[in-house]
């Protein structure tokens, strides 16, 4: 792999930048791999990268039905944080956040991670009590959290409507200063380039449409580019988890829903942090290009459509405008949606399945992007060793049968109410 550097760029300037090479190869699938990862999004590519880097494996393929990073990796609102309430989620997401802070150096690829602070707003006394409790829980597990007064919130985000007769009055907030945003495509590309440099085959336009079985074990996959044998197979397909697991005869505690996001025209810096409201479920941040990125609730019914309904979009925008009235002057330039894998306790599933040699990484609900490095790290460990890493052991598929669910909102098996 050619390392990217300022010096290389300068040297390239002398010969018309003719030294640039494709960042990854476009190989033909081999007959057999030790490990096949289905799904070339951030999580799948990160898994391949850590399998090669940490576990020293080389005979690995990532199969992607479209193009890498074209699913939810390219459709999220790029927010990175670890401000959860329960310990297993703290441990997993905080491990990921620590990896995010060094990710650009690690990959020699600028993922533009910007720890600008991730702030939850509190709209009532009850909200502030909940935020204080969450902040305490985070600090007990060694994660930074600062409870903010009303004045501190107003100082950080002067454009918030702080008036007493605001539609959603603001009483204060809780900020995780090490949280922020990153450049989503760069994460997929950086991991792809890194994995490729170790010899991982990234095979695009290769859809898996069946599993090859030998008794109770999976020994390969049927794809649109032929049969490929495998020692172990890892599913890592986000919203399509139910479909792919269905090919192996499995029914999962996952329901797929559409989650929408949208972005305005680019403007000068006006939103300094990531503003989130859990009481409303609306989140606002400003991309480095200047666009204001909005997100809201999922469309609360099952869908694989990758397109959302305007009434849900309207809800998110109405909340955003009530919080930051100045946004009403901006034009929306793009809206899109992704298929999210809503699990039945709101937490991901990373681990074994009842089918031998078949593993699952899914159920990330609407919060998978921030976990990309941690997801890849723990899934790589699981695939390489055949047993879970301490961080993903609580996130087994069995937990739904044993009752040890990790249900942060206490909603129960109702993904549409989450």
């Amino acid at each position: 792999m050619n390392r990217y550097s300022a010096f290389g760029l300068l040297r390239g300037a002398l010969n018309g930048q003719k030294h640039w090479q494709p960042a990854w190869r476009d190989p033909e699938p081999k007959a057999h791999y030790d490990i096949i990862i289905i799904g070339g999004g951030g999580h799948g590519l990160a898994t391949a990268y850590y399998l090669a880097k940490v576990h020293g494996l080389r005979n690995i393929a990532v199969l992607e039905k479209g193009w890498i990073g074209g699913g939810n990796t390219g459709r999220n609102t790029t927010i990175v944080r670890s401000n959860y309430r329960l310990k297993p989620l703290h441990d997993l997401f905080e491990f990921g956040l620590k990896l995010w802070h060094n990710l650009s150096d690690e990959l020699n690829y600028n993922v533009m991670f910007s720890p600008r602070g991730a702030m939850f707003l509190g709209h009532s006394d009850a909200d502030m009590v909940k935020l204080a409790e969450r902040g305490d829980a985070m600090r007990c597990d060694g994660i930074d959290a600062d409870l903010m007064t009303r004045d501190e919130v107003a100082k950080l985000e002067p454009l918030l409507d702080m008036s007493r007769n605001a539609r959603f009055p603001i009483e204060g907030g809780l900020i995780q200063r090490r949280g922020g945003t990153a450049r989503h495509d760069a994460v997929a590309w950086g991991y792809a380039r890194g994995a490729d440099s170790f010899g991982v085959d990234i095979i695009q336009k290769c859809e898996v449409n069946g599993f090859i079985r030998d008794g109770d074990a999976v020994v390969g996959v049927e794809t649109t580019r032929g049969r490929i044998g495998a020692g172990r197979v890892g599913i890592c397909v986000a919203g399509h988890s139910g479909h792919v697991a269905g090919l192996a005869g499995l029914k999962l505690p996952i329901e797929s829903q559409t989650l929408q996001a949208m972005v305005t025209e680019g403007v000068k810096p006006m939103i300094n942090s990531v503003i989130m409201s859990q009481s409303l479920h609306c989140y606002i941040s400003q991309s480095d290009k200047g666009g204001i990125v909005f997100g809201g609730d999922p469309d609360n019914w099952p869908s694989y459509a990758q397109r959302g309904h305007p009434m849900v979009m309207e809800g998110a925008i109405a909340q955003g405008l009530a919080l930051v009235p100045a946004l009403s002057r901006l034009r929306m330039v793009r809206t899109w949606s992704g298929v999210t894998d809503m699990s039945f306790d709101g937490s991901p599933i990373i681990g074994e399945t009842p089918v031998r040699n078949l593993y699952l990484n899914g159920g990330w609900c609407y919060g998978g992007f921030k976990a990309t490095p941690a997801s890849g790290w723990t899934y790589a460990h699981t695939l390489a060793t055949g047993s879970p890493h301490a961080l993903n052991a609580p996130f087994s598929l069995e937990r739904f049968m044993t009752g040890a669910t990790i249900d942060e909102t206490g909603t129960g098996p109702m993904p549409n109410s989450r």
């Binding site: 479909h243 869908s303 694989y304 305007p310 009434m311 098996p413």
Partner: protein, 87 residues
Amino acid sequence: MMLINCPHCGPRAQSEFIYERTVDSVPPAGVSNDKAMQTLFTRGNPRGVDEEIWRHTFGCRAWMVVTRHRVTNGISHVRAVGPEALP
């Protein structure tokens, strides 16, 4: 937005309805605990047609079963459930 043909009120905007769950996720009375858990906690989640329970919450408030395609959003059939559907 989808147009849902309520068996009682005729075609109405989807914003009047709330999605509840799929038909296959309702455990029949008297099944074993294991079977009930499986039914409650797993879904077929097909990338195609499924039968879903919706409620006309901001209308007649009745439950109904909507047969819908998960990719195209095409609704092929709506039928009433509950006492009003009995002969």
